[in-house]
Subunit: 79 residues, 7 copies
């Protein structure tokens, strides 16, 4: 009955996601990949700090820095 967290991640691949990080920054980007440690690959990524914004392009994020990930567009319907 439950949606496992890792399954949801797979269902938002190719969508734009927003991440809150432990150091207070926020990243957003299109989710290209993920592994079992929640390490992520983002494309067209932006970093948003309290007073800054910068474009980072494609990047790898270590999963241990993540607090939350949300996908405003929502996951694709279950097949």
């Amino acid at each position: 009955m439950a949606d496992a967290p890792v399954r949801l991640l797979e269902r938002v691949l190719q969508q734009r996601v927003t991440l809150m990080l432990k150091d207070g920054r926020e990243l957003s980007g299109r989710l290209l990949g993920v592994d079992e440690h929640m390490n992520l690959v983002l494309d067209d990524a932006d970093e948003t700090g309290p007073e800054t914004r910068r474009r980072l392009g494609r990047l790898i994020l270590r999963g241990s820095n993540v607090i939350t990930l949300h996908a405003p567009q929502g996951p694709a319907a279950k097949p």
Copy 2:
């Protein structure tokens, strides 16, 4: 005799839960999923900081950020 913590989590699926996080924020949302690391999927989530509130929709929360989870409505009766 004891209620194992993971069992209680399964019994509050689909209910609204409130989470206190290590960074001082509070999240609430409907619990859609959970895994063995206490990674959670929440729906209709809200974040409440000391001076802020924002709607986050569906999100994934890494379990390592959680201090406590409570379900005001209480778990369903044991079957």
Copy 3:
């Protein structure tokens, strides 16, 4: 000869316990369950901060946040 910590936890089930957490807060509640990570289920829980007190009802606490747990009433006599 020694009392293993996990055994003592099992012997205070159903009793009221007080927890000191790493973030400086204190929680108390009736201990309903425990697992091998010292994740706990509490009932009728209260949170006591330096200037606050609030009722939380039933909750799950991740064991990694705990410094100490004590049971003012003491464990039941060994069978």
Copy 4:
């Protein structure tokens, strides 16, 4: 030739020990039990902060919070 740390712990069971914790507090109490994570059971425990002292009775301490443990009385002679 070496005294393994865990062996020394077993040899000070039933003695009064003093613990320095990572959050700056100091605990003392009679050592009733220990496990392989250095989780401890103390009896007649006192907490000593920079400006406070309070009696805690019997408690469980998670080993990950410990910096040092010392037994002023010294371990019993080796059998």
Copy 5:
């Protein structure tokens, strides 16, 4: 369908990468090697702090200090 994070790292070998570290510093350098802990070998590395910049040459970076890695030049086309 997904690009695993570790695969992307292998595809930017020999390219210049920029790293954001947990302590707020930024490092850049040419990526010479990587292992499964995301420990990295960089050549011609520079450190950029809020007010400092220094040349470090070839260095080893422990992966646990990394928040993000990005490769401005982008990965080579998939073979």
Copy 6:
């Protein structure tokens, strides 16, 4: 060709060692024992803080608190 760190520890048993800890304190004492987590047993230990010094006698130190250990006297010659 290399001297493994754990081998060096075994070769300074019974010697006086000085430890720098993560919380800024310094401990010194005669090294009586060590295990694979770098948990240590020290005898005749002293703690030296920025403004304090106190005698601690025999103690157990959890290895996870250690930054460096040095043995001013140097290791015994290799057999």
Copy 7:
């Protein structure tokens, strides 16, 4: 094609290396040994703080405290 981080460490044995630590200090010394946790043995070590410098001789450093290691002299040519 890639130079694994641990291989590079083995190729700078006997050379002088400089280490940046998580607590902001810097250590340098001749690298005598290393293990799989990146625990290191240094000889003729110096510690350099923002306002201090002291000679430490031979020491053991726990790898978990390391951010970066660099070898100004560079690794020996590959055999």
